[in-house]
Symmetry: C2
């Protein structure tokens, strides 16, 4: 198993596995992240050099002390082995070296697994304008009618 920064030529591999890993859901991930955010994006490959996990993130250009994690995926057969946690930890280490103090990400209210995961690794849910099933939600955050759960995590430099 190898973990490394992402490269432009990972794009085809990653975009082709997304449909399978998300049970056929057509998630769009534009190539630009693989071209321009390589230093804060990571790939995990198995010994056969197949992609088994990836994290796409960046440092906010307008708020340079913040970073954002956009897209994370782990091969279904390699789940529950701590790979996602490993990707997040590496991202935190990387962005801390660039004076980032907090990391943000978002998810859908239906994605209970993602909400549980982010809460477990230390993200807090940002208060929104309504509550659904006990969870604070931001209405229309992803466009008209598209509610989102927002997460934030402070980065402690001694962690």
């Amino acid at each position: 198993m190898q973990i490394r920064h992402c490269r432009s030529d990972d794009y085809l591999n990653v975009s082709s596995v997304i449909k399978t890993w998300w049970n056929g859901r057509d998630m769009k991930l534009p190539r630009l992240f693989f071209e321009h955010f390589q230093n804060t994006s990571f790939i995990i490959e198995n010994d056969a050099q197949e992609v088994i996990g990836f994290l796409i993130g960046f440092i906010s250009q307008s708020q340079p002390n913040e970073a954002y994690i956009h897209f994370v995926g782990v091969h279904p057969e390699y789940r529950k082995k701590g790979l996602a946690q490993k990707l997040y930890d590496l991202f935190f280490l990387e962005v801390k070296m660039h004076d980032v103090h907090q990391v943000r990400c978002i998810t859908s209210i239906i994605n209970k697994q993602s909400i549980a995961f982010h809460t477990r690794i230390g993200f807090e849910i940002v208060n929104g304008d309504k509550e659904i099933e006990g969870i604070q939600v931001h209405s229309n955050h992803g466009g008209e009618g598209v509610d989102r759960v927002l997460f934030v995590k402070g980065l402690n430099e001694f962690e």
Copy 2:
């Protein structure tokens, strides 16, 4: 008419006009650009403060001397008035102040208008791996079976 940097709260307005401006095509533009790339993204409003044009771009994080223009739109009733050109010029000025020497963007081979526009304002087409109707194209650039035309423009500091 007013031109200004984009803000988070422009997202709903812009995402709601996109469908109309693109004749019903469902173009996805994630909110993250409006949150994290405000200083290199611009909005034009008319006197009634309606959005009539926008440009979403950023400085490449991995190649800091490059910038990328991701999404540009002009209200159909305000086309052919030089608004797109104005948005690009402002983007060039902004990124030059951050030592950017070249700007990249991409389009589809079917978008002849976009190809003509970019060529007119000084972009060059990057040589690809095949030619379609006399235009150099990069196969699978946007994913399996999705070919793209790539543009690059050098920024001259005395321009």
